[in-house]
Symmetry: C2
Subunit: 269 residues, 2 copies
């Protein structure tokens, strides 16, 4: 039982809340049972250590501790004080894991003949980024691409809001937008900018072939040069008096439209 | 220029962050230029006072101060310290208004022959509630209905996350779920429970006539008795390995499916 909240190990886990430390170590922390369980299930080779309080070890024995031990992972019991000292969240429900950052490469994603992708170009809000990753997973996207100007997807808030989806599909980070758009085009993937300035309405967009949704910043959308570099600029229709949808909602609607599951709309609205 | 952050007026505005005070006074605070602008534009009869710092008064002169004065509203300049003392948000961008809570009634909503509604039955997260109201506005819904067991839609976090949509469509609060479902049925509005337990997939649901989406709690969904009381239980398809969508995303997808704008999905996903 680890019981010293001031130990070097506890400090080094807590330090993973800093981007510079994540970047130097190539690791990040996953907090809470859902995220840790999905990491253990779907990316056990990346899980370094799992920490649980005695209560949590009991509660999540079948769901988490046994699969982790079966996968040969290090599982440590720690006091609630140690877990609190390690965690960024106020109440991580007694569970935390240290995980290697994803090392997915754009070339690998493109080599797998993807049908549906999403590229985040300047997304800054952690909740939005996490929700888009979760929505991309639910819509059956093949990968999420993230530009170098976007929020760090391994930051605690993003990790939390992905609800485990971070371990369900490749997430490629640190991308240059212009080079990525060129690589997508060369791979036969159409690029669809989602933007209020679009002239094509979403229901009229051709979503049959492989394509990638390109999402801009929460506040200012996509810069003109990015829009111009895309094959098409598509607008989600806004009814009522709303000025816009938030980024995560717009992305989810676009991704679900691509998934073809929103086809039988009626006359309401 | 109001410059005393400890004055009675400042204290009484700050107290609106408490539900008990909102409930007693029937008023709430709207913070930030977007929300205040939409309140002034679309519900001026409910706006009691507008407070701005000198910087904000200059920045939002045409957008906010002039329309507010033209509508005969009280517009007060206050020091940044006074605004900070009034506000719940850390950075309300120098603008705050005190507004009467909505007094929309279900009977009025139903009398207007609505085509698209959404009912929040046990939604507890302020961000989710606000995002659903924003999504309902964007999808062209006729009103949002909120049960007595849901988060207070006039709390600062909900108001912020509606991005002004709170003033764009009727929001009826404090509803009893069973009575509301009965009233909807009597008015010829079909009730569609959105729930992972649904047997009808969203693309197969009949969304042509007047209908109301019924949304449950973030964590546990809808209780069986509410599902049973609805005309149909509809499931948003989940692809990939995701377990679920968050409530706001699921609601937005359902509402946009109703709006009929997500019709041309392709084969991806």
């Amino acid at each position: 039982m680890m019981d010293n909240p001031r130990s070097d190990r506890v400090r080094s886990v807590a330090a993973l809340s800093k981007r510079s430390v994540r970047s130097r170590t190539g690791r990040f922390a996953v907090e809470g049972p859902q995220g840790v369980r999905e990491a253990v299930r779907h990316a056990p080779e990346r899980v370094r250590d799992v920490y649980l309080t005695p209560d949590a070890a009991q509660r999540y024995a079948a769901d988490l501790v046994e699969p982790a031990r079966a996968a040969g992972l290090w599982v440590h019991e720690v006091t609630p004080e140690v877990l609190a000292a390690m965690a960024d969240a106020e109440a991580p429900q007694g569970v935390l894991a240290v995980v290697d950052e994803a090392s997915d490469a754009l070339a690998d994603v493109l080599a797998a003949a993807p049908r549906l992708l999403v590229l985040l170009t300047h997304v800054r809000d952690p909740g939005n980024a996490g929700t888009v990753i979760r929505g991309a997973d639910a819509a059956g996207a093949d990968a999420v691409l993230v530009s170098d100007a976007s929020v760090d997807v391994h930051s605690p808030k993003v990790v939390r809001s992905t609800a485990g989806s971070l371990f369900h599909l490749p997430v490629v980070t640190g991308l240059d937008v212009a080079a990525t758009l060129a690589a997508l085009r060369a791979a036969g993937v159409r690029t669809l900018a989602a933007d209020g300035a679009g002239t094509t309405l979403l229901p009229d967009a051709d979503l049959t072939g492989p394509h990638c949704w390109v999402m801009g910043n929460e506040a200012w959308g996509l810069p003109a040069q990015t829009r111009d570099a895309c094959d098409e600029v598509v607008r989600v229709p806004i009814h009522g008096r709303a000025e816009s949808l938030n980024l995560a909602m717009a992305a989810t609607i676009c991704l679900y439209a691509s998934a073809g599951v929103l086809g039988s709309g009626g006359g309401a609205g």
